[in-house]
């Protein structure tokens, strides 16, 4: 179960689905005992449609707007977003990158049980979860044009995926949680492999017009303590798969897979513990217990 709580899909009510996820992401972990006869959805290869194939007309305009909101969130929604970030600061490459928490297939997987909320949440609620925590902002109304656009884009991205919504590379992968993180080495890794872009003090980098080039990792413009990224294992997993970008000759962004599990944990232990904004709603999280041990509060 500890494994499952760290996985992207909290499909506790759908054991078969959880099983598929575990085998997908952790081929080495013995699958939990489960004899349910329900057919196991087989993950399909992740194929993201090209932006150029977004249809015309009002439907297409909504999809385009949604895509722009995810990639240019801070500039387009300055009043809603507190951090210097876009959704695609973490959901890399327009939400189309395997293990970069992609949005391909996502609209089929919601509503979904969420242990942090202690109930099923809708896709709109999940978006707002990241809005309030990762973006340190305020939620979008469910019936707002913005929310409709974001959902329209996610649905468009998911249009070619079977209804179970399982794609190879969904979520962010996994990291060996048995290792002991060493934040002192983490600082060394940070200086050598991250500071060129994210700054000596985690402040990120802005261009002359004040637009974010590289998002901050800590400080007042970073994600808050309620964000998934503030948690050690999620951050380490994300970093192992996705950071640095521009470091390899393959992958959509030349991203990740250069740090060992140990180095990823070390550097995550270093930057997640740096000062960052508080999250006001933290007392209401995990109402039914099961708070993971890497939660920040």
């Amino acid at each position: 179960m500890t494994l499952l709580t760290a996985l992207p899909i909290r499909a506790l009510r759908k054991p078969a689905l959880a099983l598929a996820t575990v085998t997908l992401l952790l081929a080495v972990t013995p699958a939990p005992a489960d004899d349910s006869a329900a057919p196991k959805p087989t993950p399909v290869p992740m194929v993201a449609p090209r932006d150029a194939t977004i249809p015309g007309g009002p439907e297409g305009e909504l999809i385009q707007y949604g895509r722009r909101l995810l990639t240019d969130t801070k500039r387009l929604l300055p009043d809603k977003v507190g951090s210097s970030m876009n959704c695609t600061s973490c959901h890399l490459g327009e939400g189309k990158v395997a293990y970069g928490s992609p949005f391909v297939g996502i609209s089929h997987r919601f509503p979904q049980y969420n242990p942090r909320a202690g109930r099923d949440v809708t896709l709109q609620e999940r978006v707002n979860g990241c809005m309030q925590r990762s973006m340190n902002g305020t939620p979008l109304a469910s019936d707002s044009h913005e929310m409709k656009a974001i959902i329209a884009y996610m649905e468009w991205l998911s249009k070619d995926v079977p209804s179970h919504g399982q794609v190879e590379g969904m979520g962010i992968g996994d990291v060996n949680k048995k290792l002991t993180p060493d934040p002192v080495n983490g600082q060394r890794v940070y200086v050598a492999q991250c500071a060129s872009c994210h700054g000596a003090n985690g402040e990120g980098m802005k261009d002359a017009a004040g637009e974010t080039i590289f998002p901050p990792l800590w400080g007042e413009h970073a994600f808050n303590i309620g964000a998934g990224m503030a948690r050690l294992f999620k951050a380490a997993t994300f970093v192992k798969q996705n950071m640095p970008i521009g470091i390899r000759l393959d992958g959509r962004l030349g991203q990740g897979q250069v740090l060992s599990d140990q180095e990823a944990l070390d550097v995550a232990a270093y930057f997640t513990q740096q000062p960052r904004p508080d999250f006001a709603g933290k007392d209401r999280d995990w109402p039914k217990g099961g708070k993971p041990k890497d939660a920040r509060y």
């Binding site: 090209r50 932006d51 150029a52 385009q64 707007y65 722009r68 240019d72 500039r75 695609t88 890399l92 490459g93 327009e94 200086v191 050598a192 492999q193 500071a195 060129s196 872009c197 980098m205 261009d207 017009a209 080039i213 590289f214 640095p244 970008i245 521009g246 470091i247 390899r248 000759l249 393959d250 992958g251 959509r252 962004l253 030349g254």
Partner: protein, 430 residues
């Protein structure tokens, strides 16, 4: 041929019995080591994973076949341990070895001919006393028999190679002359950057030979751009400081060397003294534009032409804009300026605007990694985006060549298809 070589070798061995080096002055050896860096001997004389200077690197010569660089360690049997100074000088300047072989001009002796006698002595001292001998036999070349006779190379050398040491030009100051000496001579920049003529000779070997010198050439699937004064495609818009930065660190605030140039920087120019780099840059900046018509073919002036505003507003009427936003903008950004010393700018970048688009297409197909140097903690890479089809690559390159003030002819899908074919042929040959 083989017998001839063997005979000559035997003869040379006999005659060279007198050769043995008295220990040279350590500062001479040290200077030789530096000059070997400038000459980038290691690039060609070291095969991947093999001992330094032991040769064995395959070089494919157009129309000829595959040849292998030779062992230049002081090993007496396999290397150049039996070379006298005169032998070394003849090989370096004239491409003639003591065993009577004529070297293929893949060894850039036409440029090395400009080395001064003093520097040649320092190089010799270094190779004899500063380099570890390695007993590694040379590999046979893979050249069809009908081309393997080397004697025509003597005629080649006679026709095209000018074997005079560099003559200082009194019209210019000492720094310029130092720069000219390094660029035209040991640095052999022209080996890649000067177009070649009908017999694969460099069309010009120095600034006094005319406007072909360093005017840009095609080498091993890359286009080594013009280093002359064209503002669009050459170095006309670069400052001396920027040229120094590029040669020293592989990047500037707004650009990054890629392809074959990254190795030149990693092996050679990053190790040069600032004085020498400034001298080279000063000299390069003095080379006038090759001709006016080239300058008109494309221009790169950073200018607000509405590209940024259109991309920010989600308006992509031009072909290629949507591909740019989807596949390139994460790094090169809406404003085309990239990130200083991390992702090169495409806006105002002359490397993008050449008529020869092969490097450009290749970077998108294969990606590329910046030169790794001692001056920056990380060397960044562009990923291979070969998943894009020919039309998409043509569109996106046409878009970047004509945005933010850039102007150059569009790229055709057929050019992308052709480069894909050429690169896969290159890959199977290796």
């Amino acid at each position: 041929m083989k017998t001839a070589r063997w005979l000559a070798a035997a003869l040379a061995a006999l005659c060279s019995s007198a050769v043995h080096a008295a220990p040279a002055d350590p500062s001479l050896v040290e200077r030789g080591a530096y000059l070997a860096r400038v000459g980038d001997c290691v690039a060609c004389h070291t095969a991947p994973g093999q001992p330094t200077f032991a040769g064995g690197l395959a070089l494919d010569v157009p129309y000829l076949g595959r040849i292998y660089s030779t062992n230049i360690t002081p090993d007496r049997e396999h290397g150049i341990g039996k070379y006298s100074f005169e032998d070394f000088d003849a090989a370096m300047r004239h491409g003639e070895t003591p065993d009577g072989r004529r070297l293929y001009p893949a060894m850039p002796f036409p440029s090395y001919a400009k080395i001064t006698p003093e520097d040649m002595r320092a190089l010799y001292a270094y190779f004899m006393q500063g380099v570890q001998p390695v007993a590694q036999a040379n590999r046979e070349d893979e050249v069809p028999w009908y081309l393997s006779a080397r004697w025509p190379l003597g005629i080649w050398g006679y026709l095209f190679a000018d074997a005079e040491p560099y003559q200082s030009d009194p019209q210019h100051d000492a720094a310029w002359n130092r720069g000219a000496y390094l660029v035209e001579g040991l640095g052999h920049c022209g080996a890649c950057h000067t177009p070649r003529g009908f017999a694969l000779q460099e069309k010009a070997l120095g600034s006094t030979d005319g406007a072909d010198f360093l005017a840009g050439s095609h080498v091993g699937g890359w286009f080594a751009k013009s280093l002359r004064g064209e503002p669009s495609q050459g170095l006309g818009n670069w400052s001396i400081e920027e040229i120094v930065q590029l040669l020293k660190t592989g990047r500037t605030r707004s650009s990054a060397a890629f392809g074959a140039m990254t190795e030149v920087i990693a092996h050679s120019t990053q190790h040069l003294s600032d004085n020498d780099l400034y001298a080279m840059a000063q000299y390069l900046k003095s080379l006038p534009a090759a001709d006016g018509s080239v300058a008109a073919a494309g221009t790169a002036t950073l200018r607000d032409d509405g590209t940024l505003a259109a991309l920010q507003a989600g308006q992509y009427p031009r072909a290629g804009a949507a591909v740019y936003v989807e596949f390139c903008a994460s790094c090169h950004r809406f404003d085309g300026l990239g990130a200083p010393r991390i992702f090169p700018a495409l806006a105002g970048n002359p490397s993008l605007l050449g008529d020869d688009t092969r490097s450009l297409i290749r970077v998108v197909l294969e990606g590329g990694r910046m030169a790794t140097t001692q001056h920056d903690p990380m060397a960044f890479a562009m990923p291979s985006l070969k998943e894009l089809n020919d039309q998409e690559i043509a569109d996106v390159l046409s878009f970047v060549r004509n945005s933010w003030g850039n102007a150059a002819r569009p790229v055709q899908p057929a050019e992308v298809a052709e480069q894909r074919r050429a690169l896969s042929a290159l890959a199977t040959a290796q």
